[in-house]
Symmetry: C2
Subunit: 558 residues, 2 copies
């Protein structure tokens, strides 16, 4: 065997206070490097050599200092008396004015933010970062900010991929919900609900529930670093949403602090008492008020009962048709259910190192490279229900020409599913960007959307585009586009990425299936929803927030 | 055998133009009389004799004439030029000014309305009744009424039990949606959706779908005389909602004509693009605008696969606990699922004539009168799924002490389920009122609500109170209270019935699970929802309808 070159992937937690410590995904000491397969694929596809992986650039190792940057948007705009008042509300220790905190809590996890932080470009930052300890403090802060017309931004777990954590040009203060307001308040076993503070991290929430043999049923890729409140206000979806429901479906009631008052929606499993305020508030992304508590539906947890399955389909069309049949057949719903398009499937097989005999067998069965499509899934209800559902799904898949591939691929995927984003930094160190965009679509428009957006992405030279559908409904699904290309100039990136968004819009996809709108998609809100629907949402915004202090610029363009 | 006295139940369609033709339920020539069992029970419970059933009173046989009534609310308030303009919009034939039409289209199906019409008390009526032929005409009418500030009321199928068809004191015109705008526009088999005009009757809609082997999955008791649009704007639930979902869940997208514009919500199975306008509009009860078209989710229909079941539980607590287990066990959901409380069960057994050997057997098994509770249900998905679900439900029921009673009771119930309301007139002819109220509730408050409301109803002498739960969720269910008592004075009735509503409110039930708010529950809207939530809905009302012309007085008190 010849010695194989391995790039010097970073294995050290970023220095405290550095730009890198802000944009690094997940836990500071956790890493997941590209495998040999990945590395080979990157070189092959992008015509790179080992030499291109010898020097890291723009690692963002410098210490954050706003003075040095002299960006006008970083000059503080609050009066000292205002800071003093905020201190009396939350206590000295819970307000931060230092440069690092101001930058850290202004950033989410878009590729754009990472690229800019690498080269010390800092956009809007809050004047002060405030960590409220309880509901009452949130009320006092909102009241005071409303009175003083100080803009108020919200930071949950910081996993936003829509520039949802970035302040607007008027700046103001950022409320960090996860520091103190992160407790599971109660579990109601009779109603199967859990009442939780909005700032609790999803993984901590799930862990608490698991101890009582329950599950929240919500497993987004950002599981380790998104909050329960964040799920609700951005309308997130977990990877098992096909069975458990999206965040929208999981909420029984909520409590909001808004500039015009605090209220809790009512606890009913269903009502016919006019438009449902409980639903109106979901997806408001902090623009109507601050979600402080939420009562979520929970589920009995029985991981031992889960039944996994995986298939290889002869074509994307067959995988789609089979999935549609599964969703419309009246057999119940799988929890995890994913189909990968040919490019994603092919790259996946290369990366996970498929044995050549299996590849040959698949080809012999007519499952050809760049045609075949992988499907992963699991059934997560009661044991016999899972068994039956799995057998029905197998039958449907076979009717669509699929080869059953055992439980193994799904198990393998489950093990690493939250770690994929950790590769971002390694790729970025060598000037390669990996990012995603996603949309919802009805079945009858799926192929048009897939082909249209793919064509746009692939029209750029040296660009991978992997697509999967992972959240299923009887009426349609989502498409999740992953694109990878050598690029490190933020301007060039923005142009390309905004072009993909426009392509999604043009081909009839929704602007987002589960990432929300934030500041990034706000310029499309009105053309997507139409002026009448946008006017309805603006009216609600004006109702809750007459002084436009709540997350101004998110969802509604300034 | 001795000859049994049978009251002279009416078997003749009411005369055209009579009050009775307005308040009679359902088809004019269709009747369902109280059985011998019913008749005996009424006499026993209310200490009546055959003699009390020899003379009918207040049958409402008179011809409707507003002049004779001289009620100030019946004097027309529109200018002749306004009528002329409306005629140019819809054509001479599609506007009615006669007394009969004005009364007919001002009435729903509350017991209160029936009692009053029997004695020729007429409340508010519209000045004109308009039958729009299409969307464009609705647009022109709304625009014109908004310009002239003419109140606009909506009449779907007229099955409202919340005074939802009654105009307000300012009167105006009533739009009848079912006359022309009653077509199934298209079926999309790929997406499993049907696009339908709002005025199509539910039974006609289901019939059209059945021809293509689909079902709408929505079977309210008012199936024969409620419209699809009515389901959506009042948030109705069908008797199989536990599986198929409530009307709220069944809507993919909608088109509304409002005073501030016409718009169609987007067709996506899910989105994360801010608060969902598609959901904001549901339940607006005509107060925001006119629903003209709706795209509904549909289901494959396979009645041959349905698996019915029924049980007798030893107690209400056991029936409730078993139902909760069914909903929380992760085994899928039954379609029809109903549990009757002891009084409803006992009366049901008497009415349906349970064989005495079976009664003895049940008692021997510990299923005692005024303790035991009946459960009916069906599974309506794919055949094997149904089989498994039924077997799981049987197992759970047995663990809660239930006796399995075969498919028969459910089959029998299904056959007559839409006919129960036909008895109203027969009872009313002899001064007996039968009516219902309903509420949603979480599991942990079910017994308090049931006992509290029952105690209130039973505190009135000679009053039957039968309760069932019939729409189930993992977090709770609904309670449906049926009350029967000798009463024919509308004032006395109103006081009693409003007392029950107040009792529901006091005991923590929702104001309505699936009947909506209308004009009847509007006085409770604010105390139920709280002022902050009411303010949100008022803001939306003000947005859509700045001149308060859309169904003024419905939901929002005048």
């Amino acid at each position: 065997m010849t010695a194989t070159f391995i790039p010097d992937w970073t294995e050290k937690a970023p220095k405290e206070g550095s730009f890198r410590s802000i944009f690094k995904y997940g836990a500071p000491n956790k890493f997941k490097h590209p495998s040999h397969g990945w590395y080979k694929m990157l070189k092959d596809d992008f015509a790179l050599t080992d030499a291109d992986f010898t020097t890291k650039h723009a690692e963002g190792l410098e210490q954050v200092s706003l003075e040095k940057l002299k960006h006008p948007q970083t000059l503080p705009s609050l009066y000292p008396t205002q800071i003093t008042t905020l201190k009396t509300i939350v206590g000295e220790d819970n307000i931060a004015l230092d440069d690092y905190s101001r930058v850290k809590y202004a950033y989410g996890k878009t590729a754009e933010e990472m690229m800019e932080l690498r080269i010390a470009i800092v956009r809007e930052v809050p004047d002060a970062v405030v960590h409220p300890r309880n509901k009452l403090e949130v009320q006092k802060i909102v009241e005071y900010c409303n009175q003083e017309k100080i803009p108020l931004y919200l930071f949950g777990g910081g996993s936003s991929v829509t520039l949802g954590c970035r302040p607007g040009p008027r700046r103001g203060i950022t409320l960090v919900m996860a520091t103190h307001m992160n407790k599971l308040l109660s579990i109601n076993e009779t109603n199967q609900t859990a009442t939780v503070q909005a700032g609790m991290l999803g993984s901590a929430y799930e862990e608490c529930l698991n101890k009582r043999n329950y599950s929240g049923g919500h497993f987004p890729q950002s599981f380790e670093c998104a909050t329960v409140g964040g799920w609700v206000v951005t309308l997130g979806s977990g990877q098992a949403s096909t069975y458990y429901g999206d965040a929208y479906d999981l909420v029984l009631s909520q409590e909001y602090v808004t500039p015009v008052g605090t209220f809790r929606t009512l606890d009913y499993p269903a009502t016919a008492t006019g438009p449902k305020v409980n639903d109106i508030m979901k997806g408001s992304e902090g623009t109507y008020g601050v979600l402080v508590e939420v009562t979520m539906k929970i589920f009995r947890s029985s991981p031992a009962n889960h039944r996994r399955f995986s298939f290889m389909f002869p074509s994307w069309e067959a995988a789609v048709d089979s999935s549609r049949e599964v969703m419309q057949a009246g057999i119940g719903r799988p929890a995890i259910f994913r189909i990968s398009d040919p490019e994603e499937t092919d790259r996946g097989l290369k990366l996970y190192g498929i044995p050549s005999f299996l590849d040959k067998f698949m080809q012999w069965k007519g499952l050809l490279p760049m045609k075949r499509c992988l499907c992963l899934g699991s059934a997560e209800g009661e044991a016999d229900f899972n068994q039956l559902l799995k057998s029905k799904i197998k039958k449907i898949a076979r009717q669509h020409g699929a080869l059953y591939l055992s439980e193994y691929p799904t198990k393998k995927w489950e093990k690493t599913r939250y770690q994929e984003p950790y590769m971002r930094e390694d790729l970025g160190d060598y000037g390669i960007v990996i990012d995603t965009l996603e949309a919802a679509v009805t079945w009858d428009n799926l192929h048009k959307l897939h082909q249209g957006v793919r064509t746009f992405i692939k029209s750029r030279a040296r660009t991978m585009c992997m697509t999967h559908a992972s959240h299923f409904y009887p009426q349609g699904t989502n498409l999740y586009f992953i694109f990878i290309t050598p690029m490190s100039d933020p301007e060039e990136y923005r142009k390309f990425q905004r072009g993909i968004i426009e392509s999604i819009h043009q081909h009839g996809g929704s602007l987002s299936h589960h990432h929300g709108i934030g500041r990034m998609l706000a310029p499309w809100s009105e053309k997507h929803l139409g002026k009448e629907q946008m006017a309805i949402l603006r009216t609600l915004k004006q109702h809750f927030d007459p002084n436009n202090i709540m997350n101004p610029g998110v969802f509604y363009e300034l």
